[in-house]
């Protein structure tokens, strides 16, 4: 069980801001592969990982970091603050 959050156009493409996912995925990359199988909205949102960022428990991370113990994962495009 992991909370998955989406922001900006990732949120818009998937059509929801957050969901709880039952998964045994070892990494964000594995989780994405599972999600893409579920619906084409995910395939659209995750088509180009180079244009995406991932945060694990609210810290910027990478797609191959272990998800073990992580309670919240977020996917979003590069930030545009300031």
């Amino acid at each position: 069980m992991i909370d998955v959050l989406y922001f900006a156009w990732v949120r818009e493409r998937i059509g929801l801001p957050r969901e709880t996912v039952q998964t045994e995925a070892a990494t964000a990359r594995d989780l994405i592969a599972e999600l893409i199988l579920r619906d084409e909205r995910y395939a659209l949102a995750f088509a180009d990982l180079k244009s995406l960022r991932v945060a694990l428990d609210q810290k910027l991370s990478n797609f191959d970091a272990p998800l073990h113990g992580v309670r919240e994962i977020a996917f979003f495009p590069p930030m545009t603050g300031g």
Partner: protein
């Protein structure tokens, strides 16, 4: 040191004066204010989305780094989210230090990190629809100087 992530407008003048009043050991204060720009009149407004929780933690970490690295006497970050109109202030930073070089460097550092490492996303709303603002390669590059 103060950090506020808020939907409400803020008063640049009042914030600057309050910051300066506290900065009694400083000789130099720098402020930066980012404004919703509308060069050609086509922009209706801006929507700013953020990641509640992570935003505050990420910015606080950036501020701690700046305070230590440039021996600042004080620092301030205010960043809005939600709906903004053209001409409205999006955010401001302020830094106070004994000398000007440190105050300038720390303010630029904070801005570079806020641009690329704080979880905000801007969407420009125009007459022909809305579009997410793309991150600039330059902004990512400018992080490399610190």
């Amino acid at each position: 040191m103060r950090l506020s992530v808020q939907p409400q407008p803020f008063d640049l003048g009042a914030e600057s004066n309050a910051f300066a009043a506290q900065a009694n050991r400083a000789g130099a204060i720098v402020t930066f204010t980012g404004i919703v720009r509308n060069t050609d009149g086509a922009l209706i407004g801006m929507e700013i989305e953020h990641y509640p929780g992570m935003t505050e933690v990420a910015i606080a970490a950036i501020m701690d780094t700046a305070m230590a690295r440039w021996s600042l006497t004080d620092a301030l970050v205010i960043h809005r989210h939600g709906s903004l109109a053209p001409g409205e202030a999006i955010m401001m930073v302020a830094t106070a230090a004994p000398h000007r070089a440190a105050a300038f460097a720390a303010a630029e550092f904070l801005m570079d990190y806020l641009k690329s490492r704080a979880p905000f996303w801007k969407k420009e709303v125009g007459e022909n629809g809305a579009e997410w603002v793309a991150a600039l390669h330059d902004d990512e590059q400018s992080l490399a100087r610190w």
